[in-house]
């Protein structure tokens, strides 16, 4: 299986690689970001594709994918939610927020582990994980839904309604 990267995306990626005139390897993270943004997660094919693009051994890409919490190796839901778990947000109710989102979105987190931190709702609409401090500790509890940032999240119904 090869990865079907649209020409437009490949153009963006090629441009991005020029930001690293000294070493193409530096572009591993940005290339993976582009691919994850498009495909939702980093598949084995995406690892191979990135390695070929940057002239690296695939293991050099895979070790990056497996280290950084920001890269996923499994498909998320249509909308991916990250709830801050760290102290100030926890004091402001982030664990309760996590529970409430899971209940309303129909997500079961019981199978979640360190290596597989993402839980997806039965209908595939939402996925969720805890994230560490999102650098907005004064307005907790906070969460990210895809690239949108939400502060002082209290009304979970209103939050989910924005993502249908």
């Amino acid at each position: 299986m090869t990865l079907d990267v649209p020409a437009e995306l490949e153009k963006e990626i090629d441009e991005r690689i020029t930001h690293y005139p000294v070493s193409k390897r530096s572009a591993v993270l940005p290339v993976l970001h582009h691919l994850q943004h498009h495909f939702g997660y980093i598949s084995n094919e995406a690892v191979e594709w990135t390695a070929a693009k940057l002239e690296l051994e695939p293991i050099k890409v895979l070790e990056v994918v497996t280290f950084y919490p920001g890269f996923r190796q499994t498909a998320p839901g249509k909308y991916h939610i990250r709830v801050c778990r760290t102290l100030s947000c926890a004091m402001a109710g982030s664990y309760e927020l996590m529970e409430s989102i899971c209940e309303k979105a129909g997500i079961d987190r019981s199978g979640v582990t360190h290596h597989d931190p993402i839980a997806v709702s039965a209908d595939g609409k939402y996925s969720i994980e805890f994230a560490e401090c999102l650098a907005s500790c004064g307005t907790g509890p906070v969460c990210l839904v895809d690239d949108d940032f939400h502060e002082k999240v209290e009304d979970v119904d209103a939050l989910l309604k924005q993502y249908q």
Partner: protein
Amino acid sequence: MSEIKYLPGKEPHPRETRSVFKNVDREGWDQSIETYIADGGYEMQKKAYKMTPDEIREEVKTAGLRGRGGAGFPAGVKWGFLPPNNEKPVYLICNADESEPGTFKDRYIIHQDPHQLIEGMAISCFSVGAHLAYIYIREEFPEGAQILEKAIEEAHAKGFLGKDILGTGFDLEIYVHRGAGAYICGEETGLIESLEGKRPYPRIKPPYFPAAMGLYLCPTIVNNVETLCHVKHIMQMGGEEWSKTGKPNNTGTRILCVSGDVVNPGYFEVQVGHVTMGELINDMCGGLKDGRKLKAVIPGGSSAKVLRADETFKIGKGDDEKEIDIWDIPMDFDTLAACGSMAGSGGVIVIDDSRSISWVLNNINNFYAHESCGQCTPCREGSLWMKKITDRVVKGQASPDDIDTLDAVARNIDGRTICAFGEASSWPTESFIDKFKDELVADTSEDYEGVAVNAERELAAAGLK
């Protein structure tokens, strides 16, 4: 734009001195270069580019600017560590990882005033001789990354970046590089590894001090967002004048971020050392919640050692020596160090008497266990072990001697690791035990046998001991 007005409800507190945060929450302000230029933006770059690189560095040195990223190291001195007669390229990296729990200041500069950062970087790059610079921004600021890229494009179009800037012959490109959700990328050598496209395993110092051997093993300056912004204001005021703000050896303004158990959490730019902990909590943040009493404060990001509400601190030397309580601690680098903690990243986390100390420590330990990069055995194993013990404490499944084990584990991490994450992860536990041992022990139960005991029994049963 003459008179500065702020958005309703977001006005700075009267005790604030806004410089780096001048445009944050400002009425009529936006991120465009037109707005920035209309407000005098990029004038300091023009001024600086008429000076020599050494003159700029001397101004920064005279100002006494200490790094705002965590360690408080003087920026001008750091720049001076670049090797003389160097023939390799020099790089500058802006650390926009903002990953220390409790810290939320760089976020506002990036999202609301990106050109200030770019101007600060352009001046700094000129001084250190860097023609290529990166902003390493945490992945969790997707909008921030876009805002910065747009701002860079605008600055390019106006000739503040690119080739032959302002006719000086000086070339500079700045690129935005996004991380991928790992705290350790905030540590400067981990950041550099990450920027090289690898796992962010911190490098051992010496020899890998970035100023000598940084990105691509070339001399590299890494500074925090806020630090680089201050450089612009130093150009504006002159190093000497700037050094008169704040407090000797703790000069300038800095942004304090307050979160946790106060009525109004928020960010405040104050002259360093000009407000006390009490003024910060009670006057600026509206005090504690109704009926609550202060229990503890973590004064400089979650890695800083905790201060207990009822302890006293000896500060000052010789004739100036005095004993003060927590409310009277002036919020500056040297005093917080004298109090046994640190000013760190400026993230102040307030904890009131409704909180369980075991729960707080456990939350912190979960963070460090999750974020250790795993290179050093004491850190990798120790951070997880500490989390496992406090997990048991909060579940009521720990024995009193587990707290001694916890203490021993923590004290076997710091000083034995490649990077300062070792200290960052063990200081919370060490200080919580120093100050709140009774409460931690009270959460354990005599009915549970310690792991240490169990381990010994298992070894004995297996005939290994």
